[in-house]
């Protein structure tokens, strides 16, 4: 009896393995996560130390003991992101809005970034209502004459313009890529407009909570460099709309938010953020640099919107001055690095030890020579970044490469660096690092994208695509050849055919509407005689409309 059962099981397994070619089934539509939420989720404070311990220790052990995840890593089948449509794209949500990579933003829009106004009114009094005396760089929150609230942040004394410049540039970049960011304005103000509120409490660097006095303000401002014209240069970060409910985490979900239905480490935009942050040298990626806000949108709906905040420690800035040399090369606590350093007896010269001296104080340490996108290390391990798959990386690279040199130039302009050489250096470094990210991913996954169906003059269809590496001038079209293989209902039809950027659909039985089949083109390219991975584009013929529809894209990794 048992033998029979085993036989049946084996037979059915073999039969299923030998079954016909599988047809592409589009994944379910990703639901919108901006439904009205009646009850505001609770405020969840940021616990920097606990988060650091969680990420450095707890999560590392947990992941090591997650055998299913380990098995996937060993098998090279990491879990793909959940919030991805049939084309590998991330739908708009409370986390992310498709911007520049689907519709090129004008240079004006890039310069504007998330800003909706002109920043705080510097002609009238600023009332300080909150202050921070801790840390190297002081800061406080103000209400301007229009009643808008801003966080005011300064540069460290040693490196004027470094943090405020980085904040401006990176805000524009993150916004253009699709993330929610606060409105960050570069402002120049006369300290005379500052007025201390009545009951401003201050937690000083000695841990004493007390009412702030004028002397505290003067001490704070004494730690800030004044410009030649007597004004202070600062970032005015406008309070985001809604009620802040604390930072988001890069793992799990916010359980009291019913819209938060995907664990954060399975969100493509958060996984892909690894590449984006590596690009702009944002090593300090942690919960503390994010914010959830319970907002009411233009339709009166309440829901949680997720923001990235605090870009003062990006590019070459470490906020307290220039970024330290190991930044981006080692975690803050890096047992792997430490042990390796000890065992190699100092003969291994780490890349960051070769970094040149800081050339521009307003830029800090920002370089391309030793930048390797996948070797970039963040201050702390990040659960979302650790789960990034090749497809996530490719998606992020696509976003990054969508920013043109001119667009990056427009973003850098907003840093308003007094030294044009510094500005030029940042621009060039951003371009060079961007291209490194692009090369890395476009060499690994076929960068064929932006698939479109066109109707030709003879009333037939053609499938056109864009080679992102060529479009972004990473590679030369002359060294590239494209090939495709036709698949009808999963079966190969004919052989490999060389093609240009468009493929004429000329299967008579499909075109004549005799077959209601699924048509697919498996594309690859050869660049400098190196064959790429494939991309399969699926089309469905709709008899009722008598036209083809693109139904999905599968990218070999």
């Amino acid at each position: 009896m048992r033998a029979n059962q085993l036989y049946i099981l084996l037979t059915s397994l073999i039969l299923s393995a030998c079954s016909g070619p599988k047809l592409f089934t589009p994944p379910p539509v990703i639901p919108d996560d901006r439904y009205h939420v009646v009850e505001k989720p609770k405020y969840r404070p940021d616990n920097v130390i606990k988060n650091a311990i969680d990420q450095q220790l707890t999560n590392q052990i947990q992941q090591a003991l997650d055998f299913s995840n380990q098995a996937r890593i060993v098998a090279g089948k990491k879990k793909e992101s959940y919030n991805v449509d049939a084309f590998g794209e991330v739908p708009n949500s409370s986390w992310f809005t498709n911007r520049n990579h689907v519709q090129k933003m004008s240079l004006g829009k890039i310069r504007q970034g998330p800003d909706k106004g002109t920043g705080p009114d510097t002609s009238q009094t600023w009332m300080i209502f909150k202050a921070k005396a801790e840390g190297i760089t002081p800061g406080f929150s103000i209400i301007d004459s229009r009643g808008d609230r801003y966080v005011i942040k300064f540069d460290p004394l040693s490196n004027p313009e470094i943090a405020t410049g980085a904040e401006q540039v990176s805000t524009r970049i993150f916004y253009a890529l699709g993330f929610n960011t606060p409105e960050n304005y570069l402002t120049f103000f006369d300290p005379k407009i500052l007025k201390l509120g009545d009951d401003v409490e201050i937690l000083d660097e000695k841990g004493h909570e007390r009412f702030m006095v004028q002397d505290d303000l003067e001490k704070m401002l004494a730690r800030v460099r004044r410009q030649a014209n007597g004004l202070f240069r600062a970032t005015a970060s406008k309070y985001v709309a809604g009620v802040p409910i604390g930072p988001f985490r890069y793992e799990s979900r916010r359980k009291d938010d019913p819209n938060d239905f995907i664990k954060h480490h399975h969100r493509r935009e958060l996984r892909g953020l690894r590449m984006i942050n590596a690009w702009v040298n944002h090593a300090d990626t942690k919960s503390g640099n994010s914010l959830d806000s319970f907002i009411t949108d233009e339709n009166g709906k309440n829901y949680v919107r997720h923001y990235l905040i605090d870009f003062g420690a990006t590019l070459g800035s470490g906020t307290r001055g220039a970024a330290i040399a190991p930044r981006g090369f080692e975690n803050q606590f890096d047992p792997h690095g430490l042990i390796l350093n000890i065992l190699t007896l100092g003969f291994w010269v780490k890349p960051y030890e070769r970094l040149p001296e800081v050339k521009y104080p307003s830029v800090g340490r920002f370089q391309t020579e030793y930048f390797e996108p996948m070797k970039y290390k963040f201050n702390q391990p990040n659960p979302a970044f650790e789960r990034m798959t090749k497809r996530d990386g490719y998606w992020a690279a696509k976003l990054i490469m969508s920013l043109t040199n001119e667009q990056l130039g427009a973003a850098v302009e907003q840093g308003r660096y007094s030294n044009p050489e510094a500005s030029k250096y940042i621009h060039e470094t951003l371009i060079a690092r961007r291209n490194k990210v692009g090369h890395y991913w476009f060499d690994r996954l076929a960068p064929l994208d932006k698939f479109k169906l066109k109707k030709t003059s003879d009333n037939r269809f053609e499938l056109c695509f864009v080679d992102l590496a060529v479009e972004s001038d990473l590679n030369d079209i002359n060294s590239t050849t494209y090939f495709y293989q036709t698949l009808l209902n999963g079966e190969k039809v004919g052989g490999q055919i060389e093609t240009g950027n468009c493929i004429k659909i000329d299967l008579p039985e499909i075109v004549s509407g005799k077959t209601n089949g699924q048509l697919a083109y498996r594309l690859h390219l050869k660049r400098d005689n190196v064959k790429s991975k494939t991309v399969t584009v699926y089309l469905q013929f709709d008899n009722s409309k008598n036209l083809f529809e693109l139904i999905g894209v599968e990218r070999e990794d």
Binding site: I49, T58, I61, S68, A325, E330, Y352, E353
Partner: protein, 428 residues
């Protein structure tokens, strides 16, 4: 009966239905949009993944609890601002005073208080107290760099008291085995007044004069033999005697290293001598000559080779005796690491060290590999031999700032076994 029930129900419904409808309508108007069908939570693991992960989850459970607890506790401590408050309590805003923890193998763990600008501008007042097992204790008061005449002439003052309950004595000579290991307690007090003169930016001459008194007692360490059970005072000068001394010690100091904290170029050293004459009798009298030199060779990218050499000579004056605890000795963390303190004693000693330091966390943490060797002899010039050198080697960590070496954590190995050294804030 059924009809009555039905009629009653219908009547009730007829009366209350409009009210109910009205209420419902009113509620709908005033209430915000009711929750829609929220997206279902995405299932991130299949059943087989849960099954496969289960054993790991079980193993992880205590770790999770431990680290959660650790994280929570640390966060609470940080949130309570306890650390900055203690720091504030211990350190002045302008850095002019403060308390730092210290540790040294002989003195034990404790604290050092410093006050800049006391009693005069540019001088430093220091108070130190350390404790250890077996009533080990040491206290010290010092005033350093008291300006006397411009910037060239300065004065120093120091007063120290120490009780060291388990000092070791193996015998005298270079070929002493561990079988004769015995212990004693030493109580010492000394007070010193010094004059210093800056000869040059990197060179200073210091002359210390002082008074010291020493007493050897029974050790409190029960693990080793008691020294008085093995030796008689006639065999071992200084035993069971309270000996006080007047002393004068001139020293020439050189400092050509590039920074104090963790030099990677240059050199430093000192050469000095001392005359010790008994104050409470005529049994003891001796002089000492000592020298140390450290050369820092920058190899590449902060990899540094440190060459150290030192020696000490002790000779009696007019045939008087030398207390055994004033003999030259090897085995301290500054000489040959891997041996216990006082492992080899004799009138003279010489030692050398090769140290290779390389950074494992830039600007903060170095790893160090070292090989030390030394010899003691009654006359080192006549009896020095490479074959008689006692070697030790090992490695460790150094935590440093540009201003000072913060801590050394070293493990030395010699033929006697392993020795662990933890030195904290000794240069402060």
């Amino acid at each position: 009966m059924k009809k009555i029930l039905l009629l009653t129900t219908l009547t009730v419904q007829f009366i209350f239905a409009p009210v109910y409808a009205q209420t419902k309508e009113a509620t709908e108007v005033t209430k915000p949009e009711p929750p829609r069908q929220y997206p279902k939570q995405a299932k991130t693991k299949a059943w087989w993944e849960h099954a496969l992960s289960f054993p790991g989850d079980v193993i992880n459970f205590p770790f999770g609890l431990l680290f959660d607890g650790l994280g929570w506790t640390t966060a609470k401590v940080i949130d309570s601002k306890l650390i900055p408050r203690v720091q504030d309590f211990m350190t002045a805003d302008d850095g002019s005073r403060g308390v730092v923890p210290t540790s040294a193998p002989q003195a034990g763990f404790g604290f050092k208080y410093y006050q800049l600008g006391l009693p005069a501008k540019q001088s430093v007042l220091g108070i130190q107290a350390t404790w250890g097992l077996l009533s080990r204790q040491a206290y010290g008061l010092s005033i350093n760099k008291l300006p006397l005449w411009g910037n060239s002439l300065y004065g120093d003052f120091a007063a120290n008291y120490g009780f060291y309950p388990d000092e070791l004595f193996y015998g005298i000579g270079n070929q002493i085995s561990t079988r004769q290991k015995a212990s004693y307690a030493l109580r010492s007090f000394n007070v010193q007044l010094g004059l210093g003169f800056h000869l040059h930016k990197h060179t200073a001459l210091e002359i210390q004069t002082g008074y010291s008194t020493n007493n050897t007692l029974k050790s409190k360490d029960r693990k080793n033999k008691v020294i008085t059970d093995i030796y008689q005072p006639s065999e071992l000068p200084g035993l069971k005697v309270i000996a006080s001394f007047f002393q004068i010690q001139p020293t020439l100091k050189f400092d050509f290293k590039n920074r104090q904290g963790n030099p990677n170029a240059g050199w430093d050293g000192e050469i000095g001598g001392g005359l010790f004459l008994q104050a409470n009798g005529d049994d003891f009298g001796f002089w000492k000559m000592s020298t140390t030199v450290n050369r820092y060779v920058h190899l590449f990218r902060n990899r540094v080779l440190v060459l150290k050499a030192g020696g000490e000579m002790t000779e009696s004056v007019s045939g008087k005796a030398i207390p055994f605890y004033y003999l030259s000795q090897l085995g301290k963390s500054e000489t040959v690491r891997g041996f216990e303190r006082g492992r080899y004693r004799d009138k003279d000693s010489v030692w050398g060290s090769l140290e290779y330091r390389y950074p494992i966390r830039s600007d903060l943490l170095d790893f160090v590999l070292f090989a030390d060797a030394g010899q003691v002899a009654d006359n080192i010039f006549k009896k020095f031999s490479l074959n008689h050198l006692k070697p030790g080697f090992g490695g460790g960590l150094r935590i440093w700032t540009e201003q000072a070496l913060v801590a050394r954590l070293e493990l030395g190995k010699s033929k006697d076994g392993f020795r662990f050294y933890f030195i904290l804030n000794q240069d402060f």
